[in-house]
């Protein structure tokens, strides 16, 4: 059974929304693919990182979307440093 968590949006200005694992999964797959990783490896990496994030969420009742990005990035770095770099840079390129 999937547990639901609420995510506080940036700056608390927008309404909180439920954590959607598939959104996180898709963003990590995209970062891996951007680093020219084969699709299968990207999927398995995203799956592993999502597991870590869900475990972390179960211990933290109140988190922001930024927290999730930081935690996901930290775990992604262990599996794929290049993809983690792109994942981190996405919001600080422009």
């Amino acid at each position: 059974m999937e547990v639901s968590f609420d995510i506080i949006k940036r700056g608390g200005k927008r309404q909180s929304e439920p954590f959607l694992r598939h959104k996180l999964h898709a963003s990590i797959v995209a970062a891996c693919l951007s680093a020219r990783t084969p699709e299968g490896q990207a999927e398995s990496t995203a799956h592993a990182v999502c597991e870590h994030v869900v475990n972390w969420l179960s211990k933290h009742p109140e988190v922001t979307s930024h927290d999730i990005r930081v935690v996901a990035g930290r775990h992604l770095k262990n599996y794929h440093p290049e993809a983690a770099y792109l994942y981190e840079q996405h919001r600080i390129t422009i």
């Binding site: 020219r36 792109l86 840079q89 996405h90």
Partner: protein, 237 residues
């Protein structure tokens, strides 16, 4: 000013323009999204090439527009005070680049307002077809107008003094040189180079690029001031 000196000034102005990074940032993001969305290599190249054409067209249009405005305002003989004012703008923009061009934080975040940066990021993410990428190329050049207006103005002033054929040559030179950084990134992406390496290089060398952009503007402003203002006042050049 002879044709060779004029074209040299236009080339240096184009080099200064190419050191500005908004279009390169957008192109890097666009490529990242296209690869991350499992688009084919052909589609990636279509998107990035359209972006390149958009940026190139906007550069041609802006330079032609600036030259036309200057020509209609001042005719073939630009007053000394306008040269002096343009040199002042070059100094001012050069110092502003040194102070403000990059934000003091990680990554390659630029001076632009965060709302505009978010908008560009979202538009880049939403870009799926060549027409949108072309529009994004046009927009990314406009987005940096506050800085590129200095090299555009000095090039416009120089170009309107040239014969018509050389004006076209000047516009072509400026456009090609101003797009060198974009063309380089486009070729690297097309050649299958890693985006993270490209972005890492940009992040590592951002302060050098910032220094060179500012220094280029100040040097060009100083050169034009000596050549056009002091030279014609003293009659030595």
């Amino acid at each position: 000013m002879d044709i060779a000196s004029s074209l040299a000034i236009v080339t240096l102005a184009g080099l200064i323009h190419t050191s500005f990074q908004l279009s390169v940032s957008v192109l890097t993001l666009l490529s990242g999204h296209a690869i991350g969305s499992k688009h084919s290599h052909a589609r990636l190249m279509r998107l990035t090439t359209s972006f390149l054409f958009g940026a190139g067209l906007m550069t041609v249009l802006l330079l032609s527009f600036v030259a036309l405005v200057l020509l209609s305002l001042f005719g073939l003989h630009t007053p000394q005070v306008i040269w002096a004012m343009t040199c002042g703008i070059m100094f001012g923009v050069g110092i502003s680049v040194w102070l403000f061009y990059y934000r003091h934080e990680k990554g390659t975040t630029l001076w632009i307002p965060r709302e505009l940066a978010s908008y560009l990021t979202e538009r880049t993410k939403a870009t799926k077809v060549s027409g949108e990428a072309f529009g994004l190329g046009l927009t990314s050049v406009i987005g940096e107008i506050i800085f590129i207006i200095a090299p555009l103005t000095i090039s416009g002033l120089v170009l309107i003094q040239l014969p018509a054929v050389w004006q076209i040559v000047g516009i072509v030179i400026y456009t090609i040189v101003s797009m060198l950084s974009l063309i380089t990134v486009w070729m690297l992406i097309g050649g299958g180079h890693s985006l993270s390496r490209i972005q890492h290089w940009r992040e590592t060398n951002k302060h050098f690029m910032q220094f060179m952009s500012g220094a280029g503007l100040i040097i060009l402003g100083f050169f034009v001031y000596v050549f056009e203002v002091l030279g014609s006042t003293t009659g030595l050049i």
